[in-house]
């Protein structure tokens, strides 16, 4: 398979990239690791006129900011994140999630920023359309949906593994363009629209990622459900964080985020509220699972039925919460 033609620009910093993006207007695209963008280009799903490669750009190391946040460059490769002891100590949930992305080579090449900014996925979409599904669906600018034909919208699913973890860690991201930067909660990055999942305008990129430190007892777990156990996107994923009172038994605050069930990660807010203030026990976890199932309706995707996804959601949330509870320890 070959790539379509484009003009190549190299950029050595996020600032330079932001400059270039505003110069080239909508035809330009940033490439970080290229593991998501280049396959899409080969399939003809993206045709940037200008490709701004940051492949060789220097990357700043993870650090703890003045306010105690863990600060990560979006250009860090997943492998670098996985291997960072600072990350492991301060956000073990992120290390865990990163280690489950794609394959060894993908983790070595792919970056944090690229992972967060990946497109939503759908079987009908992620292929070239040279002879199959030639008529464009909503996501390709047409006016049909192959996946859920009765629908009036795109049901493509956001399948990235890192975003759910960052939701549960209450991370923030810096959004930058040539003229402006702002810092928003990670939830703000996603529109919840399968057709256009990100809020970013063509001139905007994401800069640093900030993960607040935890001060107290915490247990976390990332549970990724897939068939092959590797080289595969999640059928669904659950990122759970339990912050505990000093007694080690009462849950002070819980964050449960589910990935690959919709166009953006979804927080199970009722379930979270349900455990907060309670003792972590078989009963309270089961109750949380029940509530999560009430509030989250997985979009059927990649050949899986909603019945199966619901049941799997139950098992995976339960699993993530139990593991998280078992990992609670003093920091």
């Amino acid at each position: 398979m070959h790539l379509p033609r484009f003009t190549y620009k190299k950029s050595d910093s996020l600032e330079e990239t932001a400059q270039l993006l505003s110069r080239y207007d909508t035809g330009a695209c940033l490439m970080a690791g290229g593991t998501e963008l280049l396959p899409r280009m080969k399939y003809g799903l993206a045709m940037p006129e200008v490709l701004i490669s940051m492949k060789r750009s220097p990357v700043s190391s993870p650090k703890i900011g003045s306010d105690g946040d863990l600060v990560l460059s979006p250009l860090m490769t997943l492998r670098a994140v996985e291997g960072s002891s600072l990350v492991r100590e301060n956000a073990p949930l992120l290390s865990e999630a990163v280690g489950l992305v794609g394959s060894g080579e993908i983790r070595h090449m792919g970056t944090l920023g690229g992972n967060l900014c990946q497109e939503t996925r759908c079987l009908y979409y992620n292929q070239s359309h040279s002879f199959q599904f030639k008529k464009p669906c909503f996501k390709r600018g047409g006016d049909i949906c192959y996946s859920i034909p009765k629908g009036k919208e795109c049901w493509a699913v956001f399948m990235g593994d890192i975003a759910p973890a960052l939701y549960s860690l209450e991370a923030k991201v810096k959004i930058m363009s040539r003229d402006k930067t702002r810092i928003i909660p990670i939830e703000g990055l996603y529109r919840g629209d399968g057709k256009k999942p990100l809020i970013l305008s063509p001139h905007e990129i994401i800069g640093e990622i900030f993960i607040p430190g935890s001060n107290g007892l915490r247990g976390s777990a990332f549970s990724k459900f897939s068939f092959r156990g590797g080289l595969e996107f999640a059928v669904l994923s659950v990122a759970a964080v339990l912050d505990m009172e000093d007694d080690g038994e009462t849950c002070r605050s819980a964050r449960i985020t589910v990935g690959a069930v919709a166009a953006a990660p979804v927080r199970a807010r009722c379930a979270e509220a349900g455990i907060e203030g309670k003792n972590i026990s078989d009963r309270s976890l089961s109750e949380a699972v029940r509530q999560a199932l009430d509030e989250i309706r997985p979009v059927p995707h990649h050949g899986q039925t909603s019945g199966f996804l619901k049941e799997s959601l139950k098992v995976q949330i339960r699993h993530a919460l139990s593991v998280a509870a078992g990992r609670v320890k003093k920091d």
């Binding site: 992620n126 092959r228 080289l231 049941e311």
Partner: protein, 777 residues
Amino acid sequence: MSELDYVGKRILRKDGPDKITGRAKYTMDMRLPGMLVGRILRSPCPHARILNIDTSRAEKLPGVKAVITANDTLGIKHAFVETPRYPPDQYALAANRVRYVGEEVAAVAAIDPYVAEEALHLIQVDYEEMPAVFDPIEAMRQDAPEIHPTHPKVKEPFKNIGGKTYSGWGDVETGFAQSDYMREDRFESHLRTHGYLETQVALASFEPAGKLNIWTSSQGPFIKREKLARTLGLPLSAVRVQMAYVGGAFGGKVDLYAHEFCAALLSMKAGLPVKIAATREEVFAAYRHGQPLIVEIKTGVKKDGTLLAQQIRVINNCGAYRGTGVVVIFLAWGFVMLPYRLPNLKYEGYAVYTNNPPRTAQRGHGAPQLRFALDSQLDMIAEELGMDPVEIRLKNARQPGEQLPNGDNVHNCGLVECIERAAEHTGFREKHLQNRSVGTTLDPLRRGIGIAVSSYHSGSLIYPNSSSAVVKMNDDGTLTLMTGAMDIGQGAETILSQIVAEEVQVPVDKIEVIAADTETTPVDIGSWISGNTYVTGNAAREAASVVRKKLLDLAAEELEASPEDLVLDNMRVYVAGSPGRALKYRDLFTASIRKRRGDPIIGEGHWRTMQDVPFHPSLATTKGRWSENYAFDAQVAEVEVNTETGMVRLVRAVTAHDCGFPINPLLVEGQIDGQISMALGHAFLEEVIMKDGRTLNPSWLDYHMPCIHNMAVSESIDVITETYDVGRSYRTKEVGEGLVSAILAAIANAIFNAIGVRLYSTPFTPEKILRGLGRIK
């Protein structure tokens, strides 16, 4: 059996060094000066009339060197099966009508892939869509759209029947009447791809003098040559098909494919070499996969588990053209009758046209689907009768020397021993009982064990029906083996060299192999129908024994001894007991030239399976002999079922197999591991998902072929039933494709043993497990 030096040894593969260093050239790696890039335009419609094709804009695009459509062809049809009953039914490029999404409509050759791609966009095809049908049961209905007329010999009121096989013996009604217990079940299998890593690719170069040279990633050059020559209207001798290394095939590279035909025709038209390589996506969405079968079985048994009668109907969703669809419904009968004695059988198999891509052979070619159904049902019967699975199998398993209903003989069939040893090795009976008595525990992980058997033919009569080989000695005493056989990863060249080495006592690394070139190597059946080791192997052995005999005769003269007293040893000959006075082969070579009027010591040999049988058996009625070598096996699967997630893991697979004798145990193990892995993918992971004739997951990412996380422990037990003796023909049996089958049923049976859920369709997905457990309504 005499002591053997090469046969039966774990000899390292000859092509290993080339492959491990990246030097090995595959067809994908071949380039010729001036080579053009070919691409194929495919139908976007599952069923449509082609009203018009306008290639004029494409032809004018700078860089385009040739464009072809059906109009540029001779309009000669081809097919995998070409018999009077089943005349060929497919054009290499669609004429007037397309019958599946992905069908080849036109092709271009251009100076680079970008131009070729753009040229495809510039070809304007006007289609008039026609109603399409994808499900075989729907396609059989009278009101279904007609893809091809039902075969004239088929009288049932069904539409779209591409072919039918019917067979049987005894009288099933009587059998059923005598039965103590009967049951009827229906099993379904699904669409899987072969998973060869090298995509389909061909490089054609037409010389002005009229010679077509073609390299293609295939399983044997002779069948390709025959079909290419005929469809292109060239004399057979004007087509030369050669080999390069092959990056996997598994049955998927046997028949003629449009890219091969198009590369050739484009090269003829452009006067330059043309290479067409399919993308992975094309392989998934437009090429041929295996065959999903519906298998309906009614079985009657006696109280003691003896099979009395079986009535079987197989429906094959064979796609838009016959492909191997009519072969599978023939083979299916064989997979029914082979392993267990069956006094009464009524068998019907239908190949049903649908608007899906045609299908082809796939490792096991129907056996996994059939054995899954049959051995699952046998376990259900055992369960009802209160018998254990081993007992019921031993009761019905074929014994050595049994005559099969088609007149073949199972000879030294080792099935009983396979079952016994597999069961013993795994502690089957105890585990089977124990797993069932676990009852309800809190542990979501449940263990299960299951067993099943299968049998596979080794080489039968399909064009070109036979193999021959030439072994020639070189001046320095080394050998060159010329064979039409093709190493597709299974190690054919190594195995053939071992045989030659044994016969002539020349080390394997002193044997050069020239292989699979229709021009310079003798005809060969090809690396399919599992005939390689037996048919080609015996041909090579014969050729080698001619060389052996010439050496002995000459040495006897030189050493003034009788040939019986001579010993061949590592390229030397001596009189037994006096190795000190040895003659080197290179000296004998010189002597032969001198004394035998220039004879350079060349041996020729040939072999055909069932030398006394004129034709292959009837695809319609199964009448006629089929094979003289049947391999047998019993496989045990141990699984772990996660009752919460529904995921099943194959923990351990034990294969006890009667392959005659292993010529190279290392290669046999490799074949077994690969088959276990493929079966595991079949059981749990792999499915080409199609909707209305279009493929939804045409990539490695969304089609889940096993990765390293999905490995199963694979153990094997060789049940040796034959011997190899120097100078005599041998009977060895296949190991390359029969072992994907029983394990599938064994897995299904193990799942039942673990959780009491019986699965009637593949794959055994977590969803089906959870539904079976009542977790999903």
